[in-house]
């Protein structure tokens, strides 16, 4: 939750920076020193996105062609359905549990309105999409969280969908591949959100005890109650380069300890250095990597 705010803050920063760069841009070519070079086509029509890492403006189409990864290696956040399209075999994804969606169980002020706004803006019913799919021709269950839906916060519907998926996977003896992104438990559902940590963990454990594989890919940011439950419970834990991975929000830690935190604190690289994830895999290599893991854990190989 806390990083949810931090995430918003950094996105805000990005926007301000873009506006600032536009402001600095000369109004016409004459102001640039009298050169009258032919106008560059892409600067006109094509929207640009500023990379927070290398600070270059990148044409959006170029970013899309590269799975939203900048040429400097910076991984932009990705919508859940884009990711499903990227990682699964064409037309293999079949969505499950899409009818499970959050109500406002505590009548938390403003939450129903918030849900309406987010649903309309994101086109999604909830913060995680679950289903079955093939990855490199290997059958699996997959869940992908969506940072555009309340920063992937876990309320009872997210917990219920993920729990149902692990139960489905156990019943059908399928591995689970999960992409996490979350600000943590959704505070508007109070204790019920907290209980989702226990509920999902118990389902992961049952799936695991049945001898089935669970691969988690932590994407930016994976924090709070999701880190403290199913994100850290996989057999093999991968992360995207530079993803923020942690339990407590950096701002809260700074306030508690009165220390300035190093830049690399709570990055995927930091978490790997401290022994909590197996590998960092860049987006472009993920499909191949996960396919290999699924193949090596096929029932006919492991039994």
């Amino acid at each position: 939750m806390l990083v949810f705010a931090a995430g918003l803050r950094s996105r805000g920063k990005q926007v301000t920076k873009m506006a600032f760069i536009k402001f600095l841009k000369p109004k016409n070519q004459l102001e640039e020193g009298g050169r009258t070079a032919a106008p560059v086509q892409q600067d006109e029509g094509e929207p640009l996105k500023n990379c927070p890492n290398c600070h270059h403006d990148i044409p959006i189409s170029k970013l899309w062609a590269n799975n939203l990864v900048c040429s400097c290696g910076y991984h932009f956040r990705m919508r859940a359905r884009q990711r499903i399209a990227m990682i699964t075999d064409k037309d293999s994804f079949s969505e499950l549990f899409s009818d499970i969606s959050s109500q406002n169980p505590l009548s938390f002020p403003g939450y129903s309105e918030k849900l309406d706004t987010v649903r309309a803006a994101s086109g999604e019913e909830e913060g995680v999409i679950c289903g079955t799919a093939k990855i490199g021709k290997q059958s699996c269950c997959i869940f992908v969280m969506d940072s555009y839906f309340m920063m992937g916060s876990m309320g009872s519907a997210v917990g219920e969908r993920i729990t149902s998926l692990f139960e489905y996977a156990k019943e059908h003896r399928l591995p689970v591949v999960g992409f996490t992104v979350s600000g943590g438990a959704r505070m508007q559902e109070g204790l019920l959100s907290l209980m989702q940590m226990a509920k999902t963990s118990a389902a992961v454990k049952r799936h695991s005890d049945a001898g089935l594989l669970y691969v988690a890919v932590l994407t930016d940011p994976t924090t709070g109650g999701v880190t403290a439950s199913f994100a850290m419970e996989a057999d093999i834990i991968l992360a995207e380069p530079g993803a923020r991975v942690g339990f407590a929000g950096a701002r809260v830690i700074e306030q508690t300890t009165r220390k300035t935190l190093p830049k690399e604190f709570q990055t995927a690289e930091f978490v790997m250095e401290h022994g909590f994830i197996d590998s960092i895999v860049e987006r472009g290599s993920q499909k191949k990597y996960i396919t290999r893991l699924l193949k090596l854990h096929r029932a006919e190989v492991t039994q």
Partner: protein, 267 residues
């Protein structure tokens, strides 16, 4: 209800309330404390060991805040590091091996937010407890005696029975934290406490806990005797249950299952 939820939060945090060790000393006999997580350190915020309850061996684990300023600092104000959760899990696994029931007393504002805690996997430590507790083959009873701060409290409460003291609170986030994130104003903690539904009554209504323990005689001999009797009786019933693990699964499985919408929304 005469008392506001935020007033309950204040009572739950009060230094003069009995702490984990008070419960251990007054309810159990011959408590023998064991230290360390066998990985990195001993976390003083979590106390654990074996004891007897009505002549029966049990494993007892408590988050300890301490009473005096010195004690409280030494106990890190009851905010455990990953080592505290790992020690607790180690003792629970030990209890499972020797078929001892486990009783946990919970009182924490939350798992500690610090650099070391992050470096040593606070999230992973909590996650592992949630996972492992869900299939522990011995009865587990958890009692929230003061603050039940989010994942840091839940990491000792994936149990067969969860009870709360009348003025204990159990919440996904502190009211101050919630107010500061949602409304950018920590002074709105009062209304956040109201909205979060964090009192024992709320938790019972939500089906998150089974029992509320009255505090009329808190700290007195009769108070501890009453809790002792409750635990003893409950353990007797739980020990006869051979379906413990699946019932524990179902206990959490039914929490917050949202209504399935009748017709999918047209977007």
């Amino acid at each position: 209800m005469s008392q506001s939820p935020y007033a309950t939060v204040r009572i739950a945090r009060d230094n003069s309330r009995p702490t984990g060790l008070d419960y251990i000393k007054n309810i159990f006999k011959s408590f023998t404390e064991f230290h360390g997580d066998r990985r990195f350190a001993d976390d003083a915020a979590v106390v654990g060991g074996i004891a007897t309850l009505s002549d029966r061996p049990v494993t007892v684990i408590a988050i300890e805040k301490g009473h005096t300023a010195k004690e409280r600092a030494a106990r890190n104000f009851g905010a455990p590091h990953p080592e505290g959760y790992r020690k607790a899990l180690r003792l629970m696994k030990q209890a499972e091996k020797f078929s001892r029931p486990v009783i946990c007393f919970i009182d924490t504002s939350g798992a500690y937010c610090g650099v070391g805690a992050e470096e040593r996997g606070q999230g992973q430590a909590i996650a592992e407890n949630l996972m492992e507790m869900s299939t522990l083959r011995v009865p587990v009873i958890s009692i929230l005696i003061g603050e039940g701060g989010s994942g840091g409290a839940l990491a000792l409460a994936v149990s067969d029975r969860v009870w709360m003291l009348q003025n204990a609170v159990y919440s996904v986030i502190s009211p101050e934290g919630c107010a500061s994130i949602l409304w950018k104003d920590s002074t709105k903690a009062e209304s956040a406490a109201q909205s979060l539904k964090l009192t024992a009554e709320d938790a019972k209504e939500l089906g998150v806990i089974e029992r509320i323990i009255s505090e009329n005689d808190i700290g007195k001999k009769e108070f501890y005797e009453r809790i002792k009797k409750l635990i003893t009786e409950e353990l007797e019933a739980l020990s006869e249950d051979c379906d413990l693990v699946s019932k524990r699964y179902e206990r959490f499985r039914r929490m917050g299952a949202p209504k399935i919408s009748d017709s999918p929304r047209d977007m």
